[in-house]
């Protein structure tokens, strides 16, 4: 095991894959000569040169589409968005093209592309820079969506994403890039796409949380433990395909569930998981499933409002108390 920062784990995944496949290249804003806006791709220009580390203009629609076209024609692009908030400009290429071309052409074309970058909010950056997009992309057939919470998951899943022959959206967080974690240093460490992980075992309640919310859930679980409540935390890691089996298995044990999601409440991951739980485990539930999400309003700038807006450990604790009828 080596202790790596999140950004180092991502870089290692890209580096290892690039080293063994010449068709992999990286493009995006500031990825090469600036070493990455968040230093994720630091040093890769020196190692792989300007043919494979490509700085793009601020033209998300164009470069995402050039990525899709290059993937159609045999390359394996890793397209970095400075954040997924800017990928909205590229949504036409991701949603109308990358996700559908194979289907429309009856399987003649494959599109092995990874779109990656930070998702959701990163402190007080106000409304246009703070949206969580994983569930939105998961809505569309033909896209795989990953949003990890820890360096080891990031490395293992990004390697799988790069090897995947389909379009994969791989999401990170500006606020997690410095986060350290143990990463297995076995030679070819990968994690299969579509497998959730039980990250903390507990018998009283199941908390489903991914991305940044995993850490919020962990803080809540530590507090709840002091009160004798044992929380089981499941990190889906992959949003689509979604590993409901692991979640349902846990609920059959705990009979209670809280979903924590850094998205707005309408039609998000929390909504989908909640629906599936009632379909698959209705008879096992001892309380209605609760969720902690962002409110139905955009990110405010003011610090106090932002803190109010952002899901907190306290909200998770309240939700756990509610499903365990402790308050």
């Amino acid at each position: 095991m080596a202790e790596l920062q999140f950004r180092e784990a991502i870089r290692a995944a890209i580096d290892e894959e690039m080293a063994q496949d010449e068709d992999i290249f990286v493009m995006g804003e500031e990825v090469a000569e600036y070493d990455g806006a968040y230093k994720v791709t630091e040093g890769l220009l020196d190692k792989y040169g300007p043919k494979r580390m490509i700085d793009t203009p601020i033209a998300e629609l164009g470069f995402a589409g050039i990525g899709v076209g290059a993937a159609m024609n045999g390359l394996r692009p890793i397209v970095e968005f400075m954040t997924f908030n800017f990928a909205v400009l590229a949504a036409d290429q991701i949603i109308n093209h990358a996700s559908k071309i194979r289907y429309m052409t009856g399987g003649q074309i494959k599109i092995p592309i990874v779109f990656r970058g930070p998702n959701a909010s990163a402190g007080q950056l106000s409304a246009t820079h703070s949206v969580s997009y994983d569930a939105m992309y998961a809505h569309f057939p033909g896209l795989k969506v990953i949003y990890t919470s820890e360096p080891a998951d990031a490395k293992g899943l990004l390697k799988s994403a790069i090897r995947d022959d389909n379009p994969v959206l791989f999401m990170e967080s500006e606020q997690m890039y410095g986060l350290k974690g143990e990463v297995p240093d076995e030679d070819d460490f990968t994690i299969p796409i579509g497998k959730a992980k039980v990250k903390r075992e507990g018998s009283d309640v199941t908390v489903v949380a991914h991305g940044k919310m995993y850490h919020v859930a962990t803080q809540a679980a530590n507090k709840l433990k002091e009160d004798g409540v044992e929380v089981e935390i499941i990190d889906p890691r992959t949003v689509k395909p979604l590993d409901m089996e692991t979640i349902i298995k846990s609920i059959k044990k705990t009979n209670r569930c809280v979903i924590v999601d850094e998205a707005h409440p309408f039609g998000g991951l929390a909504a989908e998981v909640g629906y599936l739980i009632q379909r698959e485990a209705f008879d096992y539930l001892d309380a209605p499933v609760q969720r902690v999400t962002l409110p139905d309003t955009s990110a405010p700038f003011a610090k106090n409002l932002f803190e109010e807006w952002f899901p907190s450990p306290k909200e998770v604790i309240d939700a756990v108390n509610s499903v365990t009828y402790r308050k």
Partner: protein, 367 residues
């Protein structure tokens, strides 16, 4: 491109930042000449010039102090500083009528200050206080004063360019004679939204000035690395009138803007301006600036638009050093008062979280 075995001579993006070009000043930010006209020819009184100097210095000092407060941890978020580009905002507002419309990107503090955002309201916005120009909801990137036709700063690169076109569209529709000035960075020129808007603006004869503030860089990427040829030449493809302007000299910006605004007003036809300038600070607050050289920065700082105005005042005997000092002291006091105001102001109440999402107050929010 010739086929090569090892691919070594295959490249895509041109290189040539400080890293690979020893930070040489590139042609794309070469400045055209300045106007020779004196203030009287331009129609400015001595009193006007003192106001102009004051306003330019206010923009500078406001940001210098804001930067210090940011570094002290008084507020968070982004802080994109406008320093070095003040001649553009100052010259433009004087060339336009007060009810002409202005819209810009996130590097917007100077624009707010010249269009009726008081230093207090501006500083309070940076602090995220309810007394800020956008009630603390927007922060640094979203200064606005719509009452005085400043439609705000926008954070998605290129996103506001069609909005500028739309504001001009409404003005033409209503035949109210107002001109719109839409400012954008050199980086925004590469976005599709820019080209789509220019095409429609020309075809529909929208009364709009699209003005590129070419400050040499889009974040860490020099202009010639992100964009082909000269930015101003984009106008040719759309048959749009265009010009390149020296953005380090307030008189020059004013002179050209005045001429262009009159033409737009008279003929209801858009213009594309490339105003060449330089940003003194990093892109935002966390920028090691390895992509450019110190010499390059110094070259531009030697042409500082505020120093230039100050020297004009001194050379023309419009003000003596004492007068300059007293203006600067007044500005300093005003900025410090703004900081006190921001610090003493309240944060928005919790209810503001759900305010101004919709027009109505009783919208049933989803829970």
């Amino acid at each position: 491109m010739a086929k090569s075995k090892n691919g070594e001579n295959v490249t895509f993006t041109p290189s040539g930042t400080a890293i690979r070009n020893n930070g040489k000043v590139e042609r794309s930010t070469e400045l055209p000449g300045t106007t020779n006209k004196k203030h009287k020819t331009l129609g400015f009184s001595e009193e006007d010039l003192l106001d102009i100097f004051r306003e330019m210095y206010l923009q500078r000092r406001f940001e210098e102090r804001a930067m210090q407060m940011y570094q002290k941890g008084k507020f968070g978020g982004f802080l994109h500083l406008f320093m070095g580009q003040e001649a553009i905002s100052t010259g433009t507002v004087r060339a336009l009528n007060d009810d002409d419309d202005i819209i810009t990107a996130y590097r917007d503090h100077g624009w707010g200050l010249v269009r009726g955002v008081s230093p207090k309201e501006g500083m309070a916005e940076l602090y995220g206080k309810v007394t800020g120009c956008s009630k603390g909801k927007g922060g640094s990137m979203h200064f606005a004063n719509v009452k005085e036709h400043f439609w705000g700063g926008y954070g998605i690169v290129g996103g506001h360019i069609p909005l500028g076109g739309g504001i001009a569209f409404a003005n033409k529709y209503k035949q109210n004679g107002r001109v719109t000035a839409c400012f954008l960075g050199d980086g925004a020129v590469d976005q599709g939204a820019f080209h789509e808007t220019l095409n429609m603006a020309q075809n529909w004869k929208l009364p709009c000035i699209f003005a590129i503030e070419n400050n040499g860089y889009a974040m860490g990427t020099a202009v010639h690395r992100h964009s082909v040829g000269e930015l101003v030449d984009r106008a040719d493809g759309y048959g749009m009138k265009s010009a390149v302007v020296n953005g380090m000299d307030m008189f020059t910006v004013y002179d050209k803007m005045k001429e262009v605004a009159e033409d737009v007003r008279k003929n209801s036809e858009p213009w594309l301006l490339e105003i060449r300038t330089y940003r003194y600070r990093g892109h935002s607050m966390s920028d090691p600036m390895k992509y450019r050289s110190k010499e390059e920065l110094e070259t531009y700082q030697k042409m500082d638009p505020i120093e230039r105005m100050k020297n004009y005042l001194l050379d023309e005997d419009i003000a003596d050093q004492e007068k300059i000092d007293s203006i600067q002291d007044e500005v300093e006091e005003e900025v410090m008062e703004a900081i006190d105001f921001a610090e003493e102001s309240e944060f928005p109440d919790k209810e503001h979280l759900y305010k101004d999402v919709f027009v109505e107050d009783d919208y049933p929010f989803h829970r």
